[in-house]
């Protein structure tokens, strides 16, 4: 399935602008972005609930634009489930099959399969208002799955559930999607959800695609500052390019940051010119914190810094450190092992005000466009 140059504006500002995307068959693709960036609009364009101003929606090579939603073979799970309140669970599950005039026996068989698959046994006679949030969610999903759609669309399906339930349903959904192999487009503003569920993540901002990559890709090699800051925490570092192309290590480049050489990853095939100035990004857990009395490891990049604050997060400890020449303070996450204090720093935990050094292993940084 492919989207080609999709555009939809409400009034003057486009909600979705020039959206081009290939969704491999059977893949789990997530649209990720802040609220209002056009995710829902994009999904509705695919489902046929809105018509685009321009562009094409290709499913199996056939353009779907202009086709009504009931003829697209696309199943959509709405954010608020949109279960029919006047119909029982069974009737909700059966609804689409009835509309297609599927014969009774086959209908019962498919519904039974969905009930078993989604753990809804015993609830068939209930009405939506008699179900918990998680159960409503499962009916909404089952109602679509019984139609065996070519493409499954889900709009923030877990957003109104509590955190525990969300984790469980997320795991169930992933397993189910694998098992059925249905091509899925999923919408969320929760980066953790996107990273843990997807084969492919599409990061959007103000109607435009910022990056399309694997979860590892968008996290470790964000295309630009927006993606870096939206998908997880990002430490920014002003840099200048020293070598690219054949002079640089494969898939990366060499930079100068705060006067020292630094190797970095590149998000895509584009190569910056030598001498160009820009920003690199480092994830907090990739920074190594060294107290003054520990000698730095030879090679690699390092800089002097001052600790400003510290907070405890259970599995790790987070430090806010100030680097001379860098405006925003950096975050450094230090994992906590069985002995409090963990692997680093060896000689106790630096308190706010302490002078420290920070070091980056090779390729801990990534170039931002």
């Amino acid at each position: 399935m492919s989207l080609v140059g999709l555009r939809k504006a409400f009034g003057a500002t486009p909600a979705v602008d020039d959206l081009t995307l290939h969704v491999p068959r059977g893949s789990f693709t997530t649209l990720l972005g802040p609220s209002g960036c056009g995710k829902t609009t994009a999904l509705r364009l695919v489902g046929g609930f809105l018509e685009p101003d321009a562009g094409r929606v290709l499913i199996g090579g056939v353009d779907q634009v202009g086709r009504p939603p009931n003829l697209r073979g696309v199943g959509m799970v709405f954010q608020d489930y949109a279960l029919f309140p006047h119909l029982s669970v069974r009737a909700n599950l059966e609804y689409g099959l009835r509309m297609q005039r599927v014969e009774r026996a086959l209908r019962a068989e498919r519904v039974a399969r969905a009930v078993a698959l989604l753990g809804l046994a015993g609830l068939e006679g209930r009405y939506p208002h008699e179900l918990s949030g998680g159960q409503q969610q499962r009916v909404a999903l089952g109602r679509v799955l019984v139609l065996e759609p070519e493409v499954l669309l889900m709009d923030e399906p877990f957003s109104s559930l509590d955190a525990q339930l969300r984790l469980r349903l997320r795991a169930e959904l992933k397993a189910l999607q694998r098992e059925l192999g249905v091509t899925t487009i999923y919408v969320t503003h929760d980066q953790e959800e996107a990273l843990s569920l997807s084969d492919q993540v599409v990061v959007m901002d103000r109607g435009r695609v910022q990056q399309v990559d694997s979860p590892e890709g968008v996290y470790l090699r964000p295309a630009n500052r927006f993606v870096a800051e939206f998908v997880g925490q990002a430490n920014l570092l002003p840099v200048q390019v020293t070598a690219t192309g054949s002079a640089a290590p494969a898939g990366g480049l060499t930079l100068t940051a705060l006067g020292r050489p630094l190797s970095a990853r590149l998000p895509d095939e584009r190569r910056p010119e030598p001498g160009a100035r820009g920003l690199a990004m480092v994830r907090p857990e990739h920074v190594v914190l060294l107290t003054d009395d520990v000698p730095p490891p030879a090679g690699g990049w390092r800089a002097a810094a001052t600790v400003r604050a510290r907070s405890f997060h259970g599995g790790f400890e987070r430090y806010w450190v100030e680097l001379p020449g860098v405006t925003e303070p950096w975050l450094v996450d230090v994992p906590l092992g069985p002995s409090l204090g963990g692997t680093t720093p060896a000689s106790g935990r630096p308190a706010p005000g302490a002078s420290v050094s920070i070091a980056l292993p090779a390729f801990a940084a990534s170039w931002l466009w």
Binding site: T40, P68, N70, G75, A82, F84, P85, H86, M99, H129
Partner: protein, 551 residues
């Protein structure tokens, strides 16, 4: 029982104000709803019953009533639903304009439709006689049916408009996504979801038609229904027994409808209220082009007809002798505005009744939902009961119950005010109950936590928050009361004339000019009164806000 006593004890100790209000409300409902109905039920003797059930004339009237109610309710519902669908879902051109047409009709008393029919389509009707040269007339079933449809379809429109607006368009879009075509969406999602509202409207209309006799009187001719029979029996023959028995016959279908509607509502209410509906900004799916344009044509047609029918009454008011001498005259207008007594009474009684109705509706709704008082189910039923009582029967019941000790009220304005208030109590109660349901109980609780008694909480927190619902109740009761005939025609006296009754009498005498002039004057002063209210009460008066609570 003991739990009830305990809660009474608690009220006595901590909340005497609320207990007093509870006592007064209960007493009022017992005295003015339950007692008169019991009284009228006991009136007919066995001989009266035998006579009523065996006289062919009355058997025919009963049959006529059934036919009229069936036809008028069906056509009003169809027309009102189509109109509501046209302006809310089909998005016909000019929807905003069309959406006020039925509201305009609601401002005019129902019998104005009957009057208009006579002036337009009667023996000397403008259309039939003058334009088409026909000698036919609309008198009879056709006329009654048409006039009732015109009078009652706005009610269906209002209730259904609210219901259509309450259907989350996401549900319709979801149905499309699951493979339903446009017709299937309508049949399998939209219509089932508005069914409770449809039934509520059906009940209101059916019982309205059942008890109405303004229109049958004006355009029925020799076509007699039970309501007109009750009237002639009581005023012509002063036969209380037979008129009570005839009125009670009306109660049979009314109670059956009432029970059916209550049952459906009880079964669907929770199911429909609690699910979904954040309305994600998705518009409802478009309807088919042919349907949209047919609905548009229907809207145009109805609008033209409404304009013609209301306009002809104003024209009739300024015409010397309808059907004979169409010359312009101000004579009738002078007459009409000379009827200050009747017009003034209509306004005064209607506003007092609307006030009483609003206060009672709020009080009972609060007591039933939040008051923690005993016998809530009884209170609820007694308040809804008048919805099942055709106006004619209520009139007879009042005449019988308050004609002598212990409470002699006949001939006073009070009895008229109380009868009007009771007639609209069920609708007002539903409006207020629905609004209170929307208020979070935490508001009451926090008022209590801050030291307010329940009565204080009602007056200082709940009532101000319910202003829109209260205004809707008041306006509805006022507009209906101004134009009512069925109940009050039994209760007016020489000292307490009412414009609506005078209009009917004038029309019966063939004084079309005067009848039309007085009807026009009544419409004008009603509109003026509402405009004044609008200016004074400002934005909390959402004139037809009750439509959303109508189901």
């Amino acid at each position: 029982m003991t739990a009830g006593l305990r809660s009474l004890g608690r009220l006595w100790r901590f909340d005497r104000g609320l207990l007093l209000a509870y006592g007064l409300a209960a007493l009022f409902l017992l005295g003015f709803v339950v007692a008169p109905l019991v009284r009228v039920a006991l009136e007919p003797s066995a001989a009266d019953w035998r006579q009523v059930l065996t006289t062919p004339r009355w058997q025919r009237a009963a049959l006529n009533t059934l036919v009229t109610v069936g036809l008028s309710t069906t056509s009003s519902l169809l027309l009102g639903t189509a109109f509501a669908f046209a302006v809310t879902r089909a998005r016909v051109p000019g929807a905003r304009l069309f959406s006020v047409v039925p509201l305009f009709l609601l401002l005019t008393p129902p019998f104005v439709s009957g009057l208009a029919f006579v002036l337009l389509l009667g023996r000397r009707g403008l259309l039939t006689y003058h334009l088409l040269g026909l000698e036919t007339s609309v008198y009879g079933l056709h006329g009654v049916w048409l006039a009732q449809t015109l009078s009652f379809f706005p009610v269906a429109y209002l209730v259904l408009r609210g219901a259509f607006l309450a259907v989350d368009p996401t549900l319709e879009q979801a149905a499309r996504g699951l493979g339903a075509d446009r017709g299937q969406v309508l049949r399998s999602v939209t219509l089932p979801l508005v069914t409770p509202a449809l039934l509520a409207a059906a009940l209101f209309i059916a019982i309205g038609v059942l008890g109405d006799f303004g229109n049958p009187m004006l355009v029925g001719g020799r076509f007699q229904v039970l309501a007109t029979a009750v009237y002639t029996q009581l005023t012509g023959w002063a036969s209380f027994g037979t008129s009570a028995a005839l009125g009670l016959v009306l109660l049979v279908p009314a109670v059956a409808l009432f029970a059916a509607q209550q049952a459906v509502q009880a079964a669907t209410r929770q199911r429909f209220a609690t699910v979904g509906g954040r309305g994600a900004g998705l518009p409802a799916p478009a309807v088919a082009g042919w349907l949209r344009w047919s609905l548009f044509a229907l809207c145009v047609l109805v609008t033209l007809f409404v304009l013609a029918s209301q306009g002809v009454v104003f024209v009739g008011a300024l015409t010397r002798l309808w059907g004979v001498d169409l010359a312009f005259t101000l004579e009738h207008a002078r007459y009409a505005f000379g009827q200050v007594g009747g017009l003034g009474n209509s306004l005064r009684f209607a506003s007092l009744a609307a006030l009483l109705c609003t206060a009672l509706s709020l009080l009972v709704a609060y007591l039933v939902q939040r008051g923690g008082v005993p016998a809530r189910r009884g209170l609820d039923l007694a308040t809804l009961l008048p919805a099942a009582v055709p106006g004619t029967l209520l009139g007879v019941a009042f005449v019988l119950a308050f004609n002598g000790p212990p409470l002699r009220l006949t001939g006073t304005g009070l009895i008229i005010v109380v009868a009007m208030a009771i007639s609209y109590l069920p609708v007002g109660y539903r409006i207020c109950a629905a609004a209170i349901e929307q208020l979070r109980p935490a508001l009451d609780d926090s008022a209590a936590n801050l030291g307010a008694s329940k009565l204080r909480a009602l007056l200082t927190v709940t009532a101000p928050l319910l202003r829109p619902a209260l205004a809707a109740t008041f306006v509805f009761a006022f507009v209906q009361a101004v134009g009512t005939l069925s109940t009050v025609i039994f209760l007016v006296s020489f000292d307490t004339p009412l414009a609506s009754v005078t209009i009917l009498n004038l029309a019966e005498q063939g004084s079309w000019g005067r009848a039309a002039a007085l009807a026009s004057a009544l419409v004008l002063v009603t509109v003026a009164a509402l405009a004044l209210l609008y200016l004074v009460a400002g934005r909390s008066v959402r004139l037809w806000g009750f439509s959303r609570a109508g189901g």
